[in-house]
């Protein structure tokens, strides 16, 4: 009787244990599935987020516990802006304007990326691009000027396409300057973004505005000229005062590359 009792108790215990193990296994399987699903979601989010913020910043934010520390960096700033675009907006269908603008951004971004530039911001019809912001780049000044020259060629090509489609041609101004900027994730809890601030950004924008005064398309500052080698054909422009500066700024227009 005692033996049967012990066998029964043993059987009951074994059954309970098996049921428990099975339940835990099921639970574990569920957790693994949930984890995989969450992981997939995170990967998708990383990919989409990559369109708004540099990959390196995303990796830092997802891999580390610490916030992205703002840093001062020496960069070359290229600011490009379309001329007469506001008027074009008033005269054309909004969908056409957006289509033209998107095509322009696509062409210019390709040229900038090819020349190691990083498109940091699109401000209306303006493009802010940095060279040497995320990676050490000893050739950042040359890269920026080469990018500007290739942007000029790319715009010519794009204008042919626009002309064929019956749209007006575009023209732009480009300002290039260099200096130290503060890069980091800026904003508040509800809305923040990776961005850069500093005087070189403002100067590049002001120099771009001078392209209208000097009736040219690419202008660089003295600091850029001093770092360029002799491959580039430059023409000195008369110094002009710009907003926010007490002294007039000397700029140079980049005409092209010397033949070898």
């Amino acid at each position: 009787m005692g033996l049967v009792y012990f066998i029964l108790i043993g059987l009951v215990l074994a059954t309970v244990c098996t049921l428990l193990i099975l339940r835990l296994k099921k639970h574990n399987k569920k957790l693994v599935k949930l984890l995989e699903h969450t992981n997939e979601k995170l990967e998708r989010l990383q990919i989409h987020f990559g369109r708004f913020t540099p990959e390196e910043v995303i990796e830092h934010l997802t891999d580390s516990d610490s916030a992205y520390q703002p840093t001062m960096r020496s960069v070359t700033v290229l600011f490009a802006d379309l001329k007469g675009f506001t008027r074009m907006c008033d005269e054309m269908e909004p969908s056409d304007v957006v289509g033209i603008l998107n095509g322009y951004f696509r062409c210019m971004s390709q040229v900038l990326s090819k020349n190691h530039g990083q498109v940091t911001e699109l401000i209306g019809d303006g493009i802010l691009s940095l060279f040497g912001a995320l990676r050490n780049n000893p050739w950042q000044v040359q890269d920026a000027v080469m990018a500007a020259l290739e942007m000029r060629e790319a715009l010519e090509e794009y204008n042919k396409e626009l002309k064929d489609r019956g749209f007006p041609e575009l023209s732009f101004g480009i300002g290039i300057h260099k200096g130290r900027v503060l890069a980091g994730v800026m904003g508040n809890y509800e809305l923040s973004k990776f961005g850069v601030v500093g005087d070189p950004i403002n100067v590049a924008a002001r120099v771009e505005a001078l392209t209208r005064e000097h009736n040219t398309d690419i202008l660089i500052t003295d600091d850029i000229k001093n770092d360029l080698d002799d491959r580039f054909i430059l023409k000195k422009m008369p110094p002009l005062l710009v907003k926010g500066k007490s002294e007039p700024i000397t700029t140079y227009t980049v005409e092209g590359l010397k033949k070898k």
Binding site: R135, P138, W139, D229, R231
Partner: protein, 357 residues
């Protein structure tokens, strides 16, 4: 996290197969078969030998399991489709579970591993990446966790050794080894897995001869590896690359200097500066060559290769492979292959120096 194997862009080969009967017999005697990559690198004596030996380097100072994982992580971080397929297949044939491989690939659920192993994987990922620079704090973390300085130096060598292979195979766009990749899941593979795994282990390579000469005369990065078989392996590869006459020594020194400057490695910048002055550049010429990526000491083809070196540091597969294809047309296969080897070696050397220098 890097891309997964089926997400990697991969084009047609940029360098064609070149048959060298003597070399093929040597490969067959060594590893029993002739994988495609060895026939594409066969034109360059130092490169083909490095490609044959380095991926089979047997770590002496740290566990084999970590060395196995290293190949997978480096290939994934560098998005090398060829090496990724090989590393994944080898791991399966060595007996690692599909689940474990998947967890490493996704960089998740690494709870089965201990802290030292997780720190190693982190180190491996960071050193394999081209940006940011390899962080020294990762090395310090490994030392803190109890690995010896020698073990960490060898880990770094094994990682950059894989990075070297990743670059060579990516620039050549070596066709993935489809038959090897199918093997772990095939019936034969499943039945004979232990045997195949054992055979694979048996072709491991370690440098058995010691490095000869005055250690002071060795390149700085080799000096940091003295005491490990890796020192001789690194020394032979660097010597082979610099002594080869397919490209001029001046171009090769500049290629190393370009990588050193981009990765901001002061140790290598100083070494390449001295090497440049020793091979005939004046101070000013060297400075100008680096600033403009052109020099009166180089011909037009060499200038194209020097400018291309920049692209080998941080790259997207599609664009680098298409650029290599264009350049191969311009400079010819022998020069391009040599440049692929030198640029890949420069990237690995400088990364190692940033960490150990």
């Amino acid at each position: 996290m890097g891309l997964l194997i089926n997400e990697i862009e991969w084009g047609d080969p940029t360098i064609s197969v070149f048959h060298d009967a003597e070399w093929e017999a040597e490969i067959k005697a060594d590893i029993g078969q002739i994988p495609d990559i060895h026939t594409r690198t066969s034109r360059s004596p130092w490169l083909r030998r490095t490609v044959l030996k380095w991926p089979r380097y047997e770590a002496q100072e740290f566990p084999t399991k970590l060395a196995d994982i290293c190949g997978l992580v480096a290939a994934q971080e560098n998005a090398c489709r060829y090496c990724y397929g090989v590393a994944k297949s080898w791991m399966r044939l060595w007996g690692y579970s599909e689940k474990m491989i998947k967890n490493i690939e996704h960089n998740v659920q690494l709870a089965d591993m201990n802290e030292k192993e997780r720190a190693f994987i982190r180190f491996c990922r960071n050193l394999s990446r081209s940006n940011p620079r390899p962080p020294k704090k990762d090395r310090e973390e490994l030392l803190r966790l109890g690995y010896s300085p020698m073990a960490v130096a060898e880990m770094a060598f094994v990682i950059v050794n894989h990075c070297f292979m990743n670059r060579v195979c990516t620039f050549i766009s070596a066709p993935p080894m489809a038959s090897l990749e199918r093997l772990p899941n095939s019936l034969l593979g499943k039945i004979f897995r232990p045997l195949i795994g054992k055979k694979l282990r048996s072709i491991g390579w370690t440098e058995s001869t010691n490095i000869e000469g005055d250690p002071e005369s060795f390149p700085g990065v080799v000096q940091k590896l003295i005491g490990l078989p890796a020192a001789k392996a690194m020394h032979d590869a660097l010597n082979g690359a610099l002594e080869s006459d397919t490209l001029s020594r001046k171009l090769k020194v500049l290629m190393f200097a370009v990588v050193a400057n981009t990765l901001n490695c002061e140790f290598c910048m100083a070494e390449t500066h001295d090497m440049a002055l020793n091979c005939g550049f004046s101070e000013e010429e060297f400075k100008t060559a680096l600033a403009t990526l052109s020099s009166s000491h180089l011909n037009e083809k060499e200038e194209s290769l020097l400018a291309w070196t920049r692209e080998t540091i941080h790259f997207q597969n599609a664009s680098i492979q298409s650029r290599v294809r264009e350049l191969t047309q311009e400079v010819g296969e022998p020069m391009m292959l040599e440049a692929i080897g030198v640029a890949s070696l420069a990237n690995s050397t400088v990364r190692l120096a940033v960490l150990l220098g």
